[in-house]
């Protein structure tokens, strides 16, 4: 333990011992004080009780001199006569001596008792104070919580009855100790402490030392405690530290604290995976429909692992680096696969942009004035939606055409215009969501649009290739003989023509996108 702190401890220990001794002495006198209080009460009730009582204790307790005792004895006799013969006070002139003496004694007693009571109260407070000091000293020995304890100690010192010079002495020792600890944590702190501080530093970017000085500052305005703001800058000394801080900032910007905490736990779970496959399985099964957000989440996990690795490098913790390396590689590989998948999807979305624009334009026209639009757009109602959802196989183009056939033949009821809500289609690929619209173009002529709707209403319809389901399609304006949008990479043009002619009974020219 450090010298200054030792001095502080010694000082406090000595103080406690001396205070305790004093308090113990007072404790022994407690009984006497109680008796004295008893006498005072009795004397107040009957001023002459001292002379009628045989209890010599009374007199002894008051510590009268032999002269005073003789006086009292004399008074006692006189008073005894007075009582015995029931004589008038005026008859016995000496009675005045008794009265005077009684009065004197009464005053004397009261003074003494008050004095002693004060002493008792003060010493009881000292005993309590000693206990608090001792508790604090024990707690201060545990350095980890020392900031709070020092603060409490300073408060206690302010409240205590210690002399100013003593108080200042202790305060100075506390402050010196505080500064010393600050120096230590910065320069030669143990690896464990530095690790914790580094993590804290990166996570909160708030100086631990600042906190401690703030705390002390509340009770102590001493300038010795002020730490320059420059130290915060100095905290990021190395490349690793800066990188950690950067990664942490990004993470905190994207995720909330609670989420980060849970993500850290997930990283630990990933670390306990036995092989790469287990990691892939752990994450793969959990893809959800919003792939962008899913990617962000995986990125977050990678960032967390990178931070850990950087920390391990910073402390040259080979074992930790080894432990993290393989899972991180696996996770990064997994991330690359994910972005490849997304890229392929984006490419598929890019198919036949012109057709898409036309379709969007037509839809906007409809939206602005639905009644005047000659072509009716019929939205599938919930019942139809359920039908779609109940198709056990993947919802492919063929399924949708079967549905259209159902409408055409009147097998499936279609509530036109009454249910202006796009039905979300059960995803035909895990994690995908599509909306289906049925376009009623003419009698017995329908177009169907299957769209992957985004949240942003301005670009509501993005067509994408669904590899598993072998294609989505949008067919519109069959009257004009045009298919505005086709995204049927896995369908041949003959197949497409066949399908379209099934509902339109018209030859159809297709434009773009067909394989």
């Amino acid at each position: 333990m450090d010298m200054e702190f030792d001095i502080l401890l010694k000082l406090l220990n000595e103080k406690i011992v001396s205070l305790r001794d004093e308090a113990e002495k007072t404790d022994k006198n407690k009984e006497e004080i109680v008796q004295l209080q008893d006498i005072v009460r009795k004397v107040k009730d009957d001023p002459y009780c001292l002379y009628t009582s045989d209890d010599s204790n009374y007199v002894r307790l008051l510590g009268y001199s032999s002269e005073q005792l003789q006086e009292i004895e004399k008074c006692k006799r006189i008073y005894g006569l007075y009582v015995q013969f029931g004589m008038d006070k005026d008859v016995i002139p000496q009675i005045s001596i008794v009265e005077e003496s009684a009065k004197k004694i009464e005053e004397d007693l009261e003074r003494k008792v008050m004095l002693l009571s004060d002493v008792i109260a003060r010493h009881q407070a000292i005993i309590l104070g000693c206990q608090s000091y001792e508790n604090l000293l024990n707690e201060i020995k545990d350095k980890s919580s020392y900031v709070t304890e020092i603060k409490a100690l300073l408060e206690l010192l302010n409240e205590s009855n210690l002399e100013v010079s003593e108080r200042n002495k202790i305060k100075r020792a506390v402050i010196a100790k505080n500064n010393l600890i600050y120096q230590q944590t910065r320069e030669v702190a143990l690896e464990e402490q530095r690790k914790a501080e580094l993590a804290k530093k990166a996570m909160q970017q708030v100086s631990v030392v600042d906190e401690s000085t703030d705390n002390l500052g509340e009770t102590e305005s001493d300038t010795e405690l002020e730490v320059s703001a420059a130290t915060i800058e100095e905290r990021f000394e190395t490349e690793e530290e800066r990188e950690i801080a950067q990664l942490t900032r990004n993470l905190e910007h994207t995720f909330g604290k609670c989420t980060i905490k849970r993500m850290q736990e997930l990283v630990r779970t990933i670390l306990s995976c036995e092989n790469d496959q287990q990691i892939n399985d752990l994450l793969d099964g959990y893809k959800f429909s919003n792939s962008e957000k899913y990617l962000e989440m995986v990125d977050g996990l990678i960032s967390l692992m990178r931070i850990d690795i950087l920390m391990a490098k910073y402390f040259s913790d080979e074992e930790m680096i080894k432990k993290y390396n393989q899972p991180l590689l696996a996770l990064e590989e997994y991330r690359v696969c994910l972005s490849d998948e997304q890229k392929a999807e984006v490419e598929a979305i890019g198919v036949d942009v012109d057709g898409l624009k036309d379709f969007e334009k037509a839809l906007q026209e409809y939206d602005s004035n639905p009644l005047s639009t000659p072509n009716q757009v019929i939205f599938l109602n919930n019942a139809v939606g359920r039908d779609i959802a109940s198709i056990k196989d993947k919802t492919t183009l063929q399924d949708i055409f079967l549905l259209i056939e159902g409408f055409r033949k009147g097998e499936i009821r279609c509530d036109s215009m009454s249910d202006l809500e796009m039905r979300k289609l059960k995803p035909n690929k895990k994690g995908r969501q599509a909306r289906v619209m049925l376009l009623h173009i003419d009698n017995n002529v329908y177009g169907v649009v299957c769209v992957h709707a985004k949240k942003d209403n301005r670009t509501p319809f993005k067509f994408f290739k669904n590899r598993e389901a072998k294609g989505f399609t949008a067919i519109e304006n069959l009257n004009s003989g045009e298919v505005l949008m086709t995204d049927l990479i896995d369908y041949t043009s003959q197949q497409m023509d066949k399908l379209v002619s099934r509902i339109s009974n018209k030859p159809v020219s297709t434009k773009g996108g067909l394989a």
Partner: protein, 71 residues
Amino acid sequence: MSFDVKKKKLENDIFKDVINKKVSLNVSTYSICSDLDLEEEMVSSYFLGNCKENMILGLEILRYLEQKENN
């Protein structure tokens, strides 16, 4: 602690966090799905505890709720 036990524990912790936040913020399942562009069925089945094991989904919802809380 075995991998499976760790995993289970974490699933439950995340689930608990999500439910607590959702209840305290009084956010509807519908708004979560529409804001996050997630499938309603999937999200409600998470809240019902039927796909609690989807920790990534849980974390995503938690993140959303935390952002909502901070705003």
